[in-house]
Subunit: 344 residues, 3 copies
Amino acid sequence: MKTNPGRFFEDYRLGEVIAHAVPRTVSGGERALYHALYPARGALYSSDEFARACGLHAAPIDDLAAFHLVFGKTVPDISLNAVANLGYAEGRWLAPVWPGETLRSKSEVIGLKQNSNGKSGVVWVRTTGWNEHDRKVLEYVRWVMVRKRNPGAGDAPDPVVPELARAVAAEDLVVPEGLHFEGYDYTLAGEPHRWGDYEIGEKIDHVDGVTIEEAEHMLATRLWQNTAKVHFDATNRPDGKRLIYGGHVISLARALSFNGLANAQMIVGLNGGAHANPCFAGDTVRAWSEVLDKAETGVPSVGAIRLRLVAVKHGAAPFALRGEDGKYAPEVLLDLDYWALMPR
Amino acid sequence: MKTNPGRFFEDYRLGEVIAHAVPRTVSGGERALYHALYPARGALYSSDEFARACGLHAAPIDDLAAFHLVFGKTVPDISLNAVANLGYAEGRWLAPVWPGETLRSKSEVIGLKQNSNGKSGVVWVRTTGWNEHDRKVLEYVRWVMVRKRNPGAGDAPDPVVPELARAVAAEDLVVPEGLHFEGYDYTLAGEPHRWGDYEIGEKIDHVDGVTIEEAEHMLATRLWQNTAKVHFDATNRPDGKRLIYGGHVISLARALSFNGLANAQMIVGLNGGAHANPCFAGDTVRAWSEVLDKAETGVPSVGAIRLRLVAVKHGAAPFALRGEDGKYAPEVLLDLDYWALMPR
Amino acid sequence: MKTNPGRFFEDYRLGEVIAHAVPRTVSGGERALYHALYPARGALYSSDEFARACGLHAAPIDDLAAFHLVFGKTVPDISLNAVANLGYAEGRWLAPVWPGETLRSKSEVIGLKQNSNGKSGVVWVRTTGWNEHDRKVLEYVRWVMVRKRNPGAGDAPDPVVPELARAVAAEDLVVPEGLHFEGYDYTLAGEPHRWGDYEIGEKIDHVDGVTIEEAEHMLATRLWQNTAKVHFDATNRPDGKRLIYGGHVISLARALSFNGLANAQMIVGLNGGAHANPCFAGDTVRAWSEVLDKAETGVPSVGAIRLRLVAVKHGAAPFALRGEDGKYAPEVLLDLDYWALMPR
């Protein structure tokens, strides 16, 4: 058998480190595609000149493009037989990624817990992305529910559930080397609101909506070399729709949040996230945000803002999140919790 | 209110200069996408070697790609609340744009006229695009009908309607520094017809047709960071179709015109243009051209040709333009009037 | 008549060399698009670092991207009036193509045979692709059935049917200068199987399927500046579907074959190929391969493997190829025969 059947729950060992295949060199091509696939307008990721004025030598690729590139490589080893992508935690962007760099990924198995039904189990991995200088550029934990090869058979491993921080501590966020927001050009950035203008608890409706087409999410998902077949093969469902990669919704919602959060320039922390409901072509996606926290960083001109980013389908109630039963409303697609850097 | 509601007619002041947000560095990625989105085959924009043989140091990005990049930045400030894009005039390409350059845009309000119904008004702006060396690369006038925030209320500004040239004078066209067509390779360019082979009044049916998909025009429109929601949000119309950005039709028609005008290498002037009817996914677009004028330039090997470019939907009569009532035929999508440079 | 009506059978002369129009400079943009359009994951074409470890100075563009670029230029001269694309032979990749290079194409007419019905004829051409240093990077023979301008009229040319090799001889394959697979990283490449692990006659089902959208194949086909109108114009068929460029199916099947043939890094020979049935949007494409032959090369660490690559539509029987009548099964889209280089 030459083809990759994917790993099953039994195939993971606690502490095991999996080196993922297919390193990828990024160029301006990936950036152009990112900006064609999402309404991304962050000035720092769009303009070399703007990035230079912020102390970087050029515009890096978008924070979430780096995330998808690192994530995509893990799919054949981690989530090919996944039933569900359960959560994210302890994500940190450790260095910007610039065109010309080559990324690869590794994952360490940090938790295992078989489900009581004996058919599947939860696998926790800490994934790290590296550039060609062996510099770590990204790390995050995610956990997925993975099918067993032989349901019911074999001994379950001793359950190990890692203790994960509810949020990345502000002091652990990494401000990219050289970054500052002194003399920041709010006009070029698109909005006047600075870190001090946002209050904890404040909610922002990002107004705009984007209707998704099959071709778009497949182009995006392939670009990240994410091979999960549910995203590409229409014969998996009677209606011929393909399940949209959750990361596509993340990028779409983040780009929509420009309208109200144009100065939340760089994502540096991922505290948590849930893909609350599946997304399909034809859905019109809207987004709203809530300010969860604010913090200073080691750089005086750079503030950190912790945001909840919620993506919903058209028709959702204003600021829809959970019903009275505590469950996500059916129109909610994504509930993401992240830290971004913003001029003070 | 953190989000941008767009400007209304009352918000414009004569003489005001608006600096538009989100500068953009272009790369080979934008070019590749342009050539994937449109059947663009102009040799000078496709091959560094061909461009060098014409006196440039490398192939610039396509003339209309530069236009869309400059135009897209103006949308959040000029046309977010526009009812209609009424016209273009006095457009000039002042310098080619090469990969690596960073573009930004400014617009000066040069005309204001409230409509008699008191609900809206016409705003004229002269938009300029600049590279990172503060060199102006493009300028054009456009006018749009913009809603009033408070229909009927307030005093109308004194009406100022700018006098606009019916066409850019040939002597005001800018031939890019170094450009010449001596030793021009007609075989590599794709057609043998030179400037002298075209006669004023001549009409060319460009034969080919392209059927537009939703995914394509949205990718294009996002690539130019044009955020007008009508292009992206299917919930705006009962049929779920999205109004296609007029610039998408311009680029499509221009690319189709290669077949018969392969040597009309560089657009350098935009004399006028009307988006005669809306375009939607599923429409099959065809194009025809008429030679309106010809002129010499300061460079002996380089001629200027003034062309009407008309985009029509499949089913239009040959060379369809206006009906007996003087109105555009319903199948006409675009009526554009431009100057291009061509080997003599 | 300024537009190109395409050549008819009468327009070809034996021995004639046709220089094709529109040279093209490639960049990271073309690569990014290739990887967004197809699930391409070959490590050597994805990572500069991986390519360097294999003795190249950087990652070239994908083998088939080079093929499409060279092929696309031939369409206006060879296949605009083609009834059918009949076959390929004697294809060799002679040098990798790197971003920054400029490609152009020439074709020599090496065979002509009018059909007995007097309405059309078969034209054989040997096409060569060249970079800006006048280095030949690719060559292949293809033959097409082309309509006559005047069916029944005129004398048929003396029939000349070229003798074509059934397969490129292993000793004629060109291993790119510097390429070696010593110290090859099978983990990064994605699979452990080396040249020695494959047996002649072995068949591999590549498992995954991809459903094609109209927008995708049109983006791809335009990217290669292939202008054949059947791929773009929905008004050609009552059902509004566009015939998909056969090369799109080739690239899709090759990318799918990563799953089982991840180490078949570089295509260096094209022995033959048939587009067995037309492909349309909505088709879900799957692929299987058969090992036809194996050979050593002049480089000890580099083996050559000859593969049949078959693309089928969803619903095809396992390893579907031909029916009892010897004809291709209706679900078979492509039957390709190629040589690739693989670590020994």
